[in-house]
């Protein structure tokens, strides 16, 4: 970089770019799991951009919505590409965000001083779910209509005012045109709120700086850090390209595999689909909802399952962040991951017999993990010795890069 460009980057306002995307000191040892944050940001951009172009051709009206989607697919230049990017982009967005959240939980990134970063992230996740749900309603297929009916009806579980709230949400006495138009406006609006929160998320992160696989506080800048550019920029770029290949396979070769066939049938209030299922990324929460026999308590359980993440910094009593030095926690972590995947599978199955039983056990375990196992583990667990710095070894001697890189050697 030439000295002139450096001078420009030190001017006011432009220096924000410099401080956050160029000189920003990043831990030297962050692994590929740390690329999913920037990936999530990029997918937010993909969704907003493709969404704006779709909105130019889409008509939010019960008689025209399905038709206008087919118009996009058939007659708009590359409309099929924009729509498939948007539809599959939503799935990819959730996939990278779930990995991002999973990484935060594994390496204790939510622990102080990053509680605020984490809580903003949880709000982003909730808004993403709301946006995705409303977006799925817009094509006005059978799953759109019946998904909207089932989910909005959940509010009727609220005592006394429930029915009134549902009518207010619908703008009528059933899911109909007013519901569709308001879902469209909100689906367009909320992503920009998410964008604002993402800025806060990054801002809040860049004060204490990134967590890292070792999970210790680091001096910055120091030999434990590298400047964001070019080291992290090129690494994020590499990870992005890898992920784009996966994305391209979905978009170009199986664009409908993640969707439900019923959504290519135009919405019909007179015909209920055999199974009403949400998109895959909401299935674990749907399973939790259905595993509670009482409607109100089911809704409470489903909301708690997400909101419990917000208080995770206070549920985890451990002094040590990273699971690398927490042999027991590491095992419970993977059990939790399996538990959530099982919940997801059960969410796709009919809520009966063995499926329901497994879903109930998995739901109970989900809460058990956060409310009992996690707080107790912080007190009881015998943790491994933590190094003093990323590049320094535990007990003197030459720098131990194996430790820094979170290798198997310290796992055992």
């Amino acid at each position: 970089m030439s000295s002139t460009s450096l001078r420009i980057l030190n001017r006011p306002i432009v220096n924000i770019l410099n401080d956050h995307l160029i000189d920003y000191p990043t831990p030297i040892n962050i692994n590929y799991m740390w690329n999913f944050g920037s990936l999530a940001g990029i997918f937010l951009g993909v969704q907003i951009l493709t969404g704006i172009f779709l909105a130019m051709h889409y008509t939010p009206h019960v008689d025209l919505a399905f038709l206008s989607v087919e118009h996009i697919m058939r007659d708009v230049n590359n409309g099929w590409l924009i729509r498939y990017l948007h539809a599959n982009g939503a799935s990819m967005f959730f996939l990278v965000v779930y990995v991002h959240v999973g990484r935060g939980i594994y390496y204790g990134s939510y622990q102080k001083p990053r509680e605020f970063v984490w809580m903003v992230g949880v709000v982003v996740l909730i808004l993403m779910m709301a946006t995705a749900f409303m977006g799925y309603v817009l094509p006005w297929g059978q799953m759109s209509f019946w998904g909207a009916t089932v989910i909005t009806n959940l509010f009727s579980a609220i005592p006394l005012v429930g029915e009134g709230i549902v009518t207010w949400l619908w703008g009528g006495y059933s899911v109909d045109n007013p519901t569709l138009t308001r879902f469209f406006t909100l689906h367009y609006l909320i992503p920009f709120l998410i964008l604002g929160l993402v800025v806060l998320h990054i801002w809040a992160l860049h004060v204490p700086g990134n967590n890292n696989p070792v999970g210790i506080d680091i001096k910055k800048p120091s030999k434990d850090t590298v400047p964001f550019h070019p080291y992290i920029v090129i690494k994020d770029g590499f990870a992005l390209l890898m992920f784009m290949i996966v994305f391209a396979f979905f978009v170009f070769y199986s664009p409908n595999i993640l969707g439900h066939a019923d959504n290519y049938i135009e919405a019909n209030p007179m015909v209920t689909p055999a199974h009403i299922v949400p998109e895959w990324y909401l299935l674990p929460f749907y399973a939790i909802l259905r595993s509670v026999p009482d409607k109100l308590l089911g809704v409470v359980a489903m909301l708690s399952a997400i909101l419990i993440l917000a208080v995770l910094p206070w549920l985890d009593t451990s002094k040590i962040r990273s699971a690398v030095f927490r042999p027991l926690y590491k095992q419970f972590y993977w059990i939790l991951v399996a538990d959530v995947l099982i919940l997801g599978y059960m969410g796709a199955m009919p809520a009966e017999g063995l499926y329901l039983l497994i879903a109930r056990v998995a739901t109970a375990y989900y809460f058990l993990h956060f409310l009992v196992i996690l707080p107790v583990l912080g007190f009881k667990e015998k943790t491994l010795p933590v190094p003093l710095s990323i590049t320094e070894p535990v007990l003197g001697g030459a720098p131990n890069l194996a430790t820094a890189k979170n290798k198997e050697s310290i796992d055992k």
Partner: protein, 263 residues
């Protein structure tokens, strides 16, 4: 490195698990679907032009008397990646249909021969009329039918060949037929195809199997008219991404070699 590979494997298995769950949820099949070699599957999948043209013939001579295809226009039949009828053929096809247009200057509706820009003419005035003519069952619109059924093309292909005598123990109401691939095995539509029902212009033998394959290919095109350009663009995009990924990988290695850490 081993750790990275392990992480990747974990990630991929999660992805596989999710798609498995998704597909499982989508297909509650009654019988195992018949398979055939579809020319439009795979990395370079393209439609078989002959099959599309024959499929259009089957659709228009057999299916179209009950099933609408309201999102498709006659002009689409001449577009690249479709049946690719010549411009003259498309005009002739369109002109063979009577289209209601209007109102004219006198406020009257009138009929005229179809133009390529017209949408496929509907077999019934409205849904109620369609139901009345078909014993209460509405013949679904075929524009996106293959995408609207779990199992897709294989399901439609099987269904067309899945008519047989109802096994003993199953009683069928008047106007209901037994089909081993239909959900619940009961279908209002009578077996639509029989050998030599249509006479193919290119001399292909019009067996039920052949017609099923042709018309299903046509339905796939109707649902995904840009499938060929999607596959072409996809292949280019993926090759481009792979090359760029390799280049960026080596740049990354080079840049990170400046610090004592491996990526």
């Amino acid at each position: 490195m081993i750790n990275k590979v392990k992480n990747l494997i974990k990630l991929l298995s999660i992805l596989a698990f999710i798609s498995l769950a998704a597909t499982n949820a989508n297909s509650a099949e009654t019988a195992k679907l018949l398979k055939t070699d579809w020319s439009f599957k795979g990395l370079f999948g393209k439609f078989d032009r002959g099959a599309l043209q024959r499929g259009y013939q089957v659709y228009t001579e057999v299916c179209a008397s009950c099933h609408s295809m309201k999102y498709v226009s006659y002009r689409n039949l001449g577009e690249k990646g479709g049946p690719e009828f010549s411009e003259a053929e498309v005009k002739a096809i369109a002109a063979s249909f009577e289209v209601t247009d209007g109102p004219n200057a006198d406020g009257e509706m009138f009929t005229r021969p179809g133009k390529p820009s017209d949408k496929f003419v509907l077999p019934y005035e409205n849904v109620k009329a369609a139901q009345a003519a078909n014993g209460g069952a509405y013949p679904p619109d075929m524009s996106v039918l293959v995408k609207a059924r779990g199992g897709g093309v294989d399901y439609i292909y099987s269904l067309l060949q899945g008519y047989e005598e109802a096994p003993s123990g199953i009683t069928l109401d008047e106007g209901v037929h037994y089909n081993k691939y239909m959900y619940g095995n009961k279908i209002r539509m009578a077996a639509p195809l029989s050998d030599d029902l249509v006479e193919y212009g290119d001399g292909t033998k019009a067996s039920v199997e052949q017609m099923s394959k042709d018309v299903t290919t046509f339905l796939m095109w109707a649902a995904e008219p840009h499938l060929e350009s999607r596959h072409q663009m996809g292949f280019k995009a993926i090759v481009y991404l792979i090359i760029l990924t390799i280049l960026v990988y080596f740049s990354m290695k080079k840049i990170w070699s400046r610090v004592e850490s491996e990526v």
